[in-house]
Symmetry: C2
Amino acid sequence: MAKVFHTLVSVDEAFSMLGRYHRLEPLGVEVVGLEEALWRVLAEDVGARVDVPPFDRSEVDGYGVISADVVGAEEDSPARLKVVGYSKIGEPFPSEVRRGEVVEVDTGAAIPRGVDSVVMAEYCRRVGDYVYIYRSVSPGENIAFTGSDVTMGDLILNKGCLLTPKEISLLSALGFKSVPVFKIPKVALISVGSELRRPGEELRYGEIYDVNTYSISSLLKEVHVSTKVYGVVSDDYDLLRKTLSDALDWGDIVVTSGGTSAGITDVTYRVINDLGSPGVIIHGLKVRPGKPTVIGVVNGKLVVGLPGFPLSAVMIFNLVVKPLLLKIMGIRSSTEFKLPSILAEKVVGGKGREHLVPVILVDSGNGFISYPIPTASGSISVFTTADGFIRVPERFGFLSEGERVDTYLISSNWRPADLVIIGSHDYGINIALNLFNVRPNAKVVSVGSLAGLIAVGKGGSHIAGTHLLDEETDTYNVTFISKLGLTGRVVIIRGYSRNVGLIVQRGNPKNIRGVEDLLRDDVVFTNRNRGSGTRTLLDVLLKDLARDYGVGFDEIARRIRGYTVEAKTHTAVAAAVAQGRADVGLGVEVAANMYGLDFIHLRKEHYDFAVNTGNLEKPMIKEFIDVLRSDEFKRRLESLKGYEVPEDVGTTLQQLS
Amino acid sequence: MAKVFHTLVSVDEAFSMLGRYHRLEPLGVEVVGLEEALWRVLAEDVGARVDVPPFDRSEVDGYGVISADVVGAEEDSPARLKVVGYSKIGEPFPSEVRRGEVVEVDTGAAIPRGVDSVVMAEYCRRVGDYVYIYRSVSPGENIAFTGSDVTMGDLILNKGCLLTPKEISLLSALGFKSVPVFKIPKVALISVGSELRRPGEELRYGEIYDVNTYSISSLLKEVHVSTKVYGVVSDDYDLLRKTLSDALDWGDIVVTSGGTSAGITDVTYRVINDLGSPGVIIHGLKVRPGKPTVIGVVNGKLVVGLPGFPLSAVMIFNLVVKPLLLKIMGIRSSTEFKLPSILAEKVVGGKGREHLVPVILVDSGNGFISYPIPTASGSISVFTTADGFIRVPERFGFLSEGERVDTYLISSNWRPADLVIIGSHDYGINIALNLFNVRPNAKVVSVGSLAGLIAVGKGGSHIAGTHLLDEETDTYNVTFISKLGLTGRVVIIRGYSRNVGLIVQRGNPKNIRGVEDLLRDDVVFTNRNRGSGTRTLLDVLLKDLARDYGVGFDEIARRIRGYTVEAKTHTAVAAAVAQGRADVGLGVEVAANMYGLDFIHLRKEHYDFAVNTGNLEKPMIKEFIDVLRSDEFKRRLESLKGYEVPEDVGTTLQQLS
């Protein structure tokens, strides 16, 4: 634990240090057929060997003419010319055309000899062997000349260019049957950790499933390198040495994960150093998460050790391994998939260390907004929501709201979500999404009502579920629009009601009757996150209690065991009670019901939806409101315990002034 | 030719008509190992079968304590507790912890029984078997509880979800060894056309290379369906019938291209109709390009005939075939890759027909801008620049400048370009790009100086090469900033000089001496596109001539044979002269030189670079200017005939007021 790392370096410093020990250059050149060339990297500049089009061809359907024959042709004085043939695609007219003659031509067909322009069919009227032409043309009109699109000798693709479908199209059009490309690097993959089990195996206490083998091999497939999975190796020097040695024999690059922390388990570091020279070059990045990253070179081959936590491993893969791989693949231009975006809220990193923060990318209707996701470092549920991550630079320690940031995408096959719902957690949201005509590519993030309202106000999300109780007016949600300065920017759409109360063990063994029982010494509570509607409700109830007891709110809060322990969802609260971690929590009736727990009703609350006014006309938002109003939604939601859908569901609520 | 099509339908109408004849549903379900599951589509909702984390674990390095033991612990009154063990990752501490005892824990390690919170290592000081703790903690602090990230039973992935690296990570974390997925559709691919040759073969007159086999099969690989290429079939009924019949036996879907126009060559239509019922359902889309699109169903299998032109085929593939494929793959949510963008300039389509217009996506620093690319329908060079296309709706007939549009990306592996250079064509640009430290992922589009300046002004491109002569002041470029209303938004960076003049056949057989010779009856000229600096120069020279002759400019222009024939680049002008299509063109000396042609010097012009002031601090722009100033750039550019790099290259030019 807490063994001092060697000097931590920044990502740029790491690249430059590594450059002194590894050439980071392609591994050789081979020629492949065009059918096999997709996702390969061009090893030479490619010039056009033919003209495109390879012959003068017509750009329209019509008649090929000698322009001098149609000089002065107009609607009331057409030229009458003799049709001597037809030039079809693939069957050019074989003879020369003389004055007074024309040839019918198809779009794309070769221009016959003698013809210098084409009159579009709509200006021509065919009568037997003759055609009346009602318009004059200039020489060259409607003809695509030989080489006018691509001229023989033109440089068309540069060395180091990735061959995507567009480049493959271009190469085929220019007649290339095969192309010289760089050899594909071979990447070996090892997961290190005694606690790791393969998916499908039984977990023993303290064990978790190996994720990095699957996540990193998937990302390697996206880069189209050759990959071999060596699987899980426990934190055992001899075992890892044997496996790493085999992997180095097979591959050009070895990527490990885990086993690189500074504790006793720091086995990867020692094995890399012992296997060959120069060994470990970088041990520790000035990046959070990413400190345990190891980069080494063993007998000319690259070894990178990623952190063990899945999201950390994926972010450091994208930030460090992918750029190195692209260089070794021979990709000359940068191809990192970063999207420009505006930061939805201030993000605090920390001086002396770059911070990587996962974000959701939201199409605000006016560019992308990056919404930072609150997450614990070991979280894997973040994979359901995060599109990418942003870098909070070491020298600032924070990024401000509204700042322009680059968002690094986790996967290169990224699609923007159709619908982003950030706010309070409720079971009705998933029911609504399933009732869409086509289920949208939606992201639902539970951060609580308050943060949800603010995100909607900034365009950082499309919809927020909210159930904020205003203690002054004893109403829900609507008054918070003006309180938060969101008037005109956000409207509240009426949702439904749900029962909220205390979730306790089945049979209520602690005999809990109300909020005042939370103050008891023998009762452990589990709270919700700050800004959640449920937390707001609790605090309103506790303030009443504090008044009754004649003490301050803080005093009351301090007396509740577990007041500072925060769960993010109703399900998590119920799970904590079901697992005995707490005796009681505050949540909705349905959560208690799902876990077979008892429920003490406190009140019926309004769960409504906040929408940014700028998004009200979006088809997805309209469909969401239509679904809320549907009979099927009412039927499905009310089949859950404690829910009630009112008559005015889906209407826009106004603040009474 | 011009045979009347059946009723043309819109894309949405086509989908709804097709829905009556084909279920557009997945072809079955199979279970695959997680290693094989990337890019497959989930066939069932997936719920968590384990909790994540599967045990209470520490979120920090530190000491696991009973919170009651550290109540009141502060910097000057630490708690002193006995260390009874160490809980490491994969090696949990086996016994229960009692009051007065603590256990050292690693991040991610299991929380020992009895411990209810963890104090971070930085608030602890170890002395032998004891540890001093300088801070109190609440119950639950720094512990990730069982199921707090994902709770057993949580719905984590929906049926119809595409399994990207993120979903694969999630599935592995939840212990799934295998998953039920929909069967992969088999897509057969046929290129129809007697004029088509395979790349590598010799082209005969009137023939072109088959592109669609390569472009469409590449796009199919991106969608991860199973593909079989049947290659080129000529416009022959029996041959196509045999091939299509084989393809229908093998595949679930057949995609053809070409052979669908309304001419005599309309063989695809007849074959589909004759092979089985119901045959052709849609013959013709109200989309330009895309009118010749055919959609049919033959004995339950889908057949789509794409237009023959490569870009048309690719756009209709993306607009029509891909959404159908995604449905048959079982992808429930929409996954079209559209990016929101702002249109850089007005685009005119046409009423009664949706128009698809290829665009470049430019990162303006404030969202994406779509810059429409002027292109001929048969162009293949457009594949070097186009990122995607926009849809100009049938009912409007145009889209306005500044309008928000969705850009459909051609390839799903799209990356934004680092540097977009739209403007005048010059050979120095490629020299400069090759001198970058890392060659940028750059796009260079030749549209002429004027359109280039305007694009830079709108943020629709990063740099424009420009050589616009101001006849009033006889200066270049700078005065156009205020003339175009771009003051403050665009600056001119000094570039270099180049010789411009008349390019004529070798030996000058027509004895051309100057611009006045363009008026001769026996001289055919080839012009440049409107808005190009060279065209502007020509028109200035012609106006002088018109004054000398005492006639109007229009009169002069009308007398020049070929004045209306436009070439886009200096190379294209030189090629036209070299191929004998014209006797003379206006262009730079180096182009004449490259084609071994003669050159009649007219003047030395300034070729400078326009940059949007908002982009001046971009690293790519700074490097571009640094490269211009480098000795190596001067050396390489001046090795080309007619170029001169001045002392003040790279400086910002100011308009003298």
